[in-house]
């Protein structure tokens, strides 16, 4: 239970970083932290104490089968990491272009649009 709680704490920390920081690089870091929190959460869902890798071999004892960790969440996390990398590179690219335009990373200086 504590680990799930820690995931939420990590998620909230990322969200705080995103909302409170004016520097857009720090905002990006906030997004990355939130991403990691969710990946961690997914891994914990499939985790088992004393679990083994889910590889089926012939004549396996039933006790081993029961100790398998859930492979699906690990596949989800792999996909999620790849997506996160794509989004991160786009964010950093835009961040560099914004810096070239304004000469600063401060969102309150950059911000002209009213929302």
């Amino acid at each position: 239970m504590t680990v799930y709680f820690m995931c939420i704490v990590l998620l909230t920390m990322g969200l705080y970083c995103l909302v409170a920081k004016k520097n857009i690089v720090k905002k990006i870091l906030g997004i990355v932290i939130m991403d990691y929190a969710v990946n961690l959460y997914l891994i914990i869902i499939g985790y088992k104490t004393g679990g083994v890798a889910p590889i089926i071999e012939p004549n396996m004892p039933a006790a081993t089968l029961e100790r398998f960790v859930d492979p699906l969440t690990q596949a989800l996390v792999l996909t999620s990491i790849v997506i996160g990398l794509g989004v991160l590179s786009l964010m950093v690219a835009m961040c560099i272009r914004l810096y070239e335009k304004h000469g600063t990373f401060d969102m309150s200086v950059i911000s002209k649009l009213r929302g």
Binding site: D35, L42, L76, G86, V87, M91, M94, K101, K112, L113
Partner: protein, 510 residues
């Protein structure tokens, strides 16, 4: 043969081919993109004649394998996405000539279409998330395509908020998987119905809140709308038309409908489903009020259209939310059906008139070089075709009979009153007049009045740009008057797909 995987495969392949061929062939995007999108549009329209179908990816049957599902609701969205996509590509051919890096533009455009088609045919929660990310990443890049200071800022804002939505969605999907042990939507729905008797445990409630927030952000419902009025005006006009026309609907409204009606089974009348139905109606009302009030004060034409999108999405959500609430509280099925039908009908109409308005704003910007309404005026004499189509769309969205927007708003209002929410209906009627007010402002400032200095030199746009406008203008009138033709074939199957979640489970799991 089942064409479902082609809706994803064709645009995805095109998105890969266009930049690859673009190395040697500069016009690869301009040549290939219209061809591929035309094929997709024809396929999507023909999808109406096909019965609901399931495709098993790689031959693995659900719930183990990933399923692609087309039912009434998917078909409705497929038609909207692919037809509008084709028209926007046609419009882009001339409009985008002032930009550089066109192969990248067409490639990103095709990626966006692939992602949206994937979202609406996917029958698997995580698969839906992946396609949603594909469409979102392409649209972040397209919003910032102009790489001006304003475009980059709008794109960055959209990117940050979109990423937060994605994180929330993944959290929700993980929670649903932890509770039900499945990611297949039909299987999850069956688990929720059988194991919990339709009642939602706290974990499912939390996941539902994350879904409503994540998809609500993609749909720009009001507490989550801050990115839309920046992102939509900053994008090139055909992309604005795609974003306001179909992206917010396929990534937002469609996903909310699918999750809450088909997966969560809102009709069971559990305490949780009433909470979600209430939230939907609240967000809808807030969107109608905030979108309407903020649109009046805008002088940037595209920004006005963007705020109007928020308001109109509110009407769509109101129809669907009222339907959900009637279902959840065990009211009359016919009233719920009418409300949902009204919401879907308004969504379909909004696809036609809002993409038309954004494309015509692009035509006006192309001809005059500005989108500031104070500098425009008297366009009727200089650009008769664009003015005529703008007029049609404005009358339609403002709800003037006999245009399509009038009928769909009327259906939503009748259903709201029949369901007993007279107060909500009165607010909706008042803000229907507000819509009329700001479109009268559009007409007065842009189309009529004295010819301004910038408009003096304006000429009608080339045929490639006004043909999509005319087609969409015909749709604006046709969808209303030809409802007896369109309704039973496209809209009513979509409503039935939402109303009978048992049928969806039956369809996918057999």
């Amino acid at each position: 043969m089942n064409p479902l995987p082609l809706y994803v495969a064709i645009p995805l392949g095109a998105a890969f081919l266009i930049p690859l061929l673009g190395i040697w062939w500069r016009k690869s995007g301009e040549t290939l993109a219209p061809l591929f999108t035309l094929v997709l549009a024809i396929m999507a329209v023909l999808q109406v004649t096909r019965p609901a179908a399931v495709y098993h990816m790689g031959g693995w049957a659900p719930p183990v394998g990933i399923a692609l599902v087309s039912d009434g609701l998917s078909t409705l969205l497929l038609i909207a996405i692919n037809v509008v996509g084709f028209l926007c590509i046609l419009f882009s051919l001339k409009y985008m000539q002032t930009y550089t890096g066109l192969t990248k533009y067409y490639s990103l455009f095709m990626l966006m279409v692939a992602g949206m088609n994937g979202v609406v045919v996917s029958g698997d929660l995580f698969n839906l998330y992946v396609f949603l990310e594909v469409a979102s990443i392409a649209s972040y890049a397209l919003v910032a395509f102009g790489v001006g200071a304003e475009e980059l800022e709008a794109g960055f804002k959209y990117l940050i908020l979109g990423s937060v939505a994605s994180v929330m969605l993944l959290f929700g999907i993980g929670t649903v998987y932890a509770v039900t042990g499945s990611l297949n939507m039909a299987d999850v729905a069956r688990e929720i119905a059988m194991r919990f008797g339709g009642e939602m445990n706290p974990a499912l409630l939390l996941a539902g809140a994350f879904f409503l927030m994540g998809f609500g952000l993609k749909a720009a419902l009001v507490p989550f709308h801050a990115w839309l009025p920046d992102a939509h005006p900053s994008a090139p006009a055909p992309i604005s038309a795609m974003l306001s026309g179909v992206v917010i609907k396929s990534l937002g409204i469609y996903a909310i409908c699918r999750i809450f009606f088909n997966v969560y089974g809102i009709a069971t009348g559990s305490a949780g489903s009433i909470i979600f139905a209430n939230a939907m109606v609240t967000f809808a009302l807030l969107s109608i009020i905030v979108g309407g009030l903020l649109a009046i004060g805008q002088w940037d034409y595209k920004r006005l259209l963007a705020y109007s999108s928020i308001g109109q999405i509110g009407y769509v959500m109101l129809g669907i939310g009222v339907g959900a609430r009637v279902l959840a509280t065990g009211g009359q099925l016919s009233v719920a059906g009418l409300a949902i039908l009204g919401g879907l009908f308004h969504m379909f109409n909004h696809v036609a008139f809002k993409s038309l308005l954004f494309l015509s704003s692009g035509a006006i910007q192309h001809a005059t070089g500005t989108r500031d309404m104070k500098q425009l005026g008297g366009l009727r004499e200089k650009m008769p075709i664009t003015s005529f189509t703008t007029n049609m769309a404005a009358l339609s969205i403002a709800g003037v009979p006999p245009f399509s927007g009038f009928w769909s708003k009327l259906v939503i209002l009748i259903a709201t009153i029949k369901a007993g929410y007279t107060g909500i209906a009165i607010v909706a009627i008042i803000f229907a007049f507000v819509t009329l007010v700001y479109y009268i402002k559009v007409q007065r400032e842009i189309l009529y009045g004295t010819v301004s200095k910038l408009v003096e030199k304006a000429r009608e746009v080339p045929a490639l740009m006004y043909v999509p406008l005319i087609i969409l203008a015909i749709a604006c009138v046709g969808l209303g008057l030809l409802y007896p033709v369109v309704g039973p074939r496209v809209l009513e199957p979509a409503r039935d797909a939402l109303m009978n979640s048992a049928e969806y489970i039956q369809l996918v799991l057999g």
